[in-house]
């Protein structure tokens, strides 16, 4: 009897194989999805939260989204503009000052990324009244910045389709975003 049930199980080996593969794939998806929305490790433990509480506006450091495609990561010079005198005794600020002394760029890890096959420009989004938080989440409350949205096509379209009727045709056009 044991022999028979064993052979019956073996007869469906391919079913077990498929189930096994599915489990691995599902686990892979879950794990990588978590990793994709995790905060990457940065060369300096920079806290957006702290700067927000001190009253620093997003545009003070990321100064270009109203006039360019990219918001811009502040230059080391801009950081040192304040930190030449403010909180110079903190260990992370000293790491920053080390970069400045060596005249080295800081190798920040990118947090938010658009795929290569789309045009994306901050300028039209900001100029039509979209706030930073809409896409980037409440960065001001985060110690280490992490992505909060899966910036996929469905998510883009959800918003584009909710726009006033006369704009929808233009905003839903493939070539509005795709290269």
């Amino acid at each position: 009897m044991d022999e028979r049930s064993g052979s019956r199980l073996l007869r469906f080996w391919w079913l077990w194989a498929i189930i096994g593969v599915l489990i691995i794939v599902a686990a892979g998806i879950l794990l990588t999805q978590r990793a994709a929305l995790a905060a990457p490790e940065q060369p300096i433990e920079f806290s957006h939260n702290l700067h927000n509480e001190a009253g620093v506006q997003c545009l003070f450091c990321h100064s270009n989204p109203m006039r360019s495609d990219v918001a811009g990561i502040p230059s080391v010079e801009r950081c040192v503009g304040c930190h030449g005198v403010i909180a110079t005794d903190r260990s992370e600020v000293q790491v920053l000052l080390g970069y400045w002394e060596r005249q080295e760029p800081i190798p920040w890890q990118r947090v938010t990324e658009m795929p290569d096959h789309v045009f994306f420009s901050h300028q039209p989004h900001l100029l039509s009244g979209v706030s930073c938080e809409t896409c980037h989440g409440d960065v001001g409350q985060m110690a280490a910045v992490r992505p909060v949205r899966r910036m996929d096509m469905g998510w883009c379209l959800n918003c584009h389709l909710e726009q006033p009727e006369e704009k929808v045709a233009r905003l839903a056009d493939c070539l509005a975003c795709h290269k």
Partner: protein
């Protein structure tokens, strides 16, 4: 979804100090001038985040009209080249040691000042320039003049390969002019090109290619006709209606024979040829036919092609100039334009119009080879104690018989301004790297090429990547330290002040495409436009200064090497991508296949199929090419577009130094060239062939690297 693509680590490196008025994410376009060859094409460079990304032809520039060649496009690889010198250096263990030690610029200037002050006489200074920016030539000339030193000598292989000095001498003999003639290809109906590869590297190839397109597209109611005389089918000859591979050295004779027929038969529509007959009184058409192998009937046919239209033009090119009888042969070609009354006419011969400002009016003279020989003699005799070398690489360019390298050993202090460690920089004591042209200032008088006076301006499109310094600034700082008359002659604070001062002379010119109420306004428009040029086409008509009763004669060409021991004519030709070798450190240019053979990354020897069969050679077989002067070994390319008694080899490879992409690759054809004096007759050598019995696969477009691998590296 998940799984991968989103979790990749991308590093975002912001600037430490951002360039002034930089807007991240937005491209800025700067107008400047290409300096990959002396033509002076206008470029616009796309710059993002302070870094140049792409070079294009400037659409408003009247010379290249928005077009740019492959060499111009590759200029970014000079800027970002990994083998650039990053600071001033000296050689620790003597010349040739290649052990470079960085020097601070103030130390450099102290040393320069003391070596200048320690000279036994100001006469003991030498300045050898190659493709020298015009502003630097002007500034250095003022410096040397004030110091009482000899004027700069200019030599580079490209200039020799395009026959610039022969063309200058031709203009001087015929028109008493100090500038090179322009041939109006765009409006010509028939072009007879005598060894001028005007669609590749000769003079102003981009402008000439645009003009050639105009000529072919029949904008004058008919498709223009091009006939090319040269022993090897070049890209230009391949674009021609007829290619005439006549016996090397007889091209001038053919021009003479054609002239004689035209005058004798009174061909053409330009009136009587009586006044020209004396020029041809010693010419025997039968003898021309015998010497050149072109029959009298064929000569008559060619003469009819040339004269049956209103606008023919004959162009004496670089290959013609390289022959032992280059000067008289060029005369015979120019005479065809004269007897057809093509001077100053649409589709004929013009002279570049002078730029209406004193600072730009006299063109930079091309030094004759005898001036180079004179400099070498002075060096050999120990009369040069301090030698400056800028944008010239004579150790690579000149055959060893010139004695340059031995003479250099007699110069106590040699200073190179090369941004790269080339063969000549290795033999220098100090290398004080200049900026590359995308980082530096300058200007160039565009001549020949455009149909109007053109000044092309050069401005930095990025801050210098390394601790290099503009050579003009080095000389200004040196003048300041030397004081006295030299400092008084050079009152400018820096190179920009010098250029700005010169450009202000154009302010208020009535013919310019722009003007401004103030010098500052003019200066900003000068940079914005990439130079200054006239609104309308202005061309100067050449006036004949030559006695037309003097008979023309083209002597038999005497080649180096007797025909029995050395049965083949050597036809070196300027590689369209590497040009005279200065492009060899740019991998895009190495990788781009030669348009006629598809070969790349190497030197090759082109043999006619008949010759190849005779020696039992085929593609990729190694062959030794031996002249009375030297020898080289390279793989064969069986090429039907060459005379059976000729062997063609491209220039540009065989570098011992000059960076990782150039070094130890191929062979330098200049090592084969036989001795000549007065002019560098690079086309006057005969060679013999010896099969080596091995083969080495040549990288070609269709065969990847010869072994099926991608050759991109």
């Amino acid at each position: 979804m998940g799984l991968g693509s989103t979790i990749r680590n991308v590093v975002l490196e912001p600037f430490v100090q951002p360039p002034e008025s930089e807007l991240p994410g937005r491209a800025t376009w700067f107008a400047s001038t290409c300096r990959q060859c002396p033509a002076g094409c206008g470029i616009t460079v796309r710059v993002i985040n302070g870094r140049p990304r792409k070079i294009e032809g400037s659409p408003t520039h009247p010379l290249n009209r928005g077009k740019l060649c492959a060499r111009g496009q590759a200029g970014l690889q000079l800027l970002y080249n990994p083998d650039r010198l990053r600071n001033a250096v000296r050689q620790n263990n003597g010349r040739g040691s290649r052990e470079f030690e960085p020097m601070a610029w103030d130390v450099v200037l102290d040393l320069l000042t003391s070596s200048f002050q320690g000279l036994s006489s100001p006469e003991a200074v030498g300045f050898l320039g190659g493709l020298l920016p015009d502003h630097l030539h002007a500034l250095v000339s003022v410096f040397l003049d004030a110091a009482g030193s000899p004027a700069p000598v200019l030599f580079d292989l490209h200039t020799a390969l395009e026959g610039r000095t022969t063309a200058a001498a031709l203009a001087s003999r015929w028109f008493d002019a100090d500038r090179l003639p322009i041939y109006d290809i765009a409006n010509a109906e028939v072009v007879f090109s005598f060894g001028s590869n005007f669609l590749e590297t000769w003079m102003s190839p981009v402008a000439q290619s645009v003009d050639y397109g105009t000529m072919r597209q029949g904008q004058l109611g008919g498709r223009g006709f091009l006939l090319q005389f040269e022993p090897r089918l070049s890209s230009t000859a391949a674009s021609a209606d007829e290619w005439m591979p006549v016996e090397p050295g007889t091209e001038g004779l053919i021009a003479l024979g054609l002239g004689r027929i035209i005058v004798e038969e009174n061909l053409g529509r330009s009136g009587s040829h009586r006044e020209h007959s004396l020029m041809y009184r010693n010419v025997d058409v039968g003898a021309v036919a015998d010497a050149s192998g072109v029959s009298t009937e064929e000569l008559l046919r060619l003469a009819r092609i040339f004269t049956d239209v209103d606008r023919p033009v004959a162009i004496p090119g670089g290959y013609l100039a390289s022959l032992p009888n280059g000067q008289p042969a060029s005369d015979a070609v120019m005479a065809l334009n004269v007897i057809m009354r093509r001077l100053g006419r649409e589709g004929g011969v013009f002279l570049p119009q002078e730029v209406p400002a004193e600072a730009f009016s006299s063109p930079v003279p091309a030094s004759s080879f005898s001036e180079v020989e004179e400099l070498i003699e002075r060096m050999q005799a120990g009369k040069v104690e301090l030698l400056f070398i800028h944008s010239s690489n004579p150790i690579y360019d000149l055959p060893s018989w010139s004695g340059f390298q031995e003479a250099l050993a007699n110069v106590p202090t040699v200073i190179s301004f090369s941004p790269f460690v080339d063969e000549t920089a290795v033999q220098a004591d100090w290398v004080l790297p200049d900026h590359t042209y995308l980082e530096g200032w300058g200007y160039q008088v565009v001549a020949p090429g455009a149909d109007r006076p053109v000044m092309s301006s050069q401005q930095p499109v990025t801050i210098p990547l390394y601790d290099t310094r503009s050579t003009a600034d080095v000389f200004l700082a040196l003048a300041d330290r030397l004081g006295g008359e030299i400092a008084a002659a050079l009152p400018w604070t820096d190179e920009v002040a010098f250029i700005e001062d010169n450009t202000s002379q154009l302010l208020g010119s009535s013919i310019g495409v722009f003007d401004a109420p103030t010098p500052a306004g003019f200066w900003s428009r000068w940079r914005q436009n990439g130079g200054w040029w006239s609104q309308n086409s202005i061309r100067q008509e050449p006036e004949i200064a030559r006695d037309l009763t003097q008979p023309l004669e083209v002597p038999k060409a005497e080649f180096d090497g007797d025909p029995e021991g050395f049965p083949f004519y050597l036809v070196p030709y300027e590689a369209i991508l590497l040009s005279d070798g200065r492009g060899a450190n740019q991998p895009w240019l190495q990788e781009t296949p030669d348009p006629m053979t598809t070969a790349r990354w190497n030197t090759w020897v082109e043999l006619n199929p008949e010759t190849a069969v005779h020696f039992g050679l085929t593609d990729n077989d190694l062959v030794r090419v031996i002249s009375a002067t030297g020898e080289l070994t390279a793989p064969v390319v069986v090429y039907p577009g060459i005379r059976p008694d000729a062997v063609a080899i491209p220039t540009g490879q065989g570098h011992q130094d000059y960076g990782r992409y150039a070094e130890q690759r191929g062979a330098n054809v200049m090592e084969l060239i036989g001795p000549s004096h007065g002019t560098l007759n690079w086309g006057s050598t005969r060679v013999r062939l010896e099969p080596v019995g091995r083969s080495a696969k040549l990288a070609r477009l269709e065969s990847l690297d010869g072994e099926g691998r991608e050759t991109v590296r």
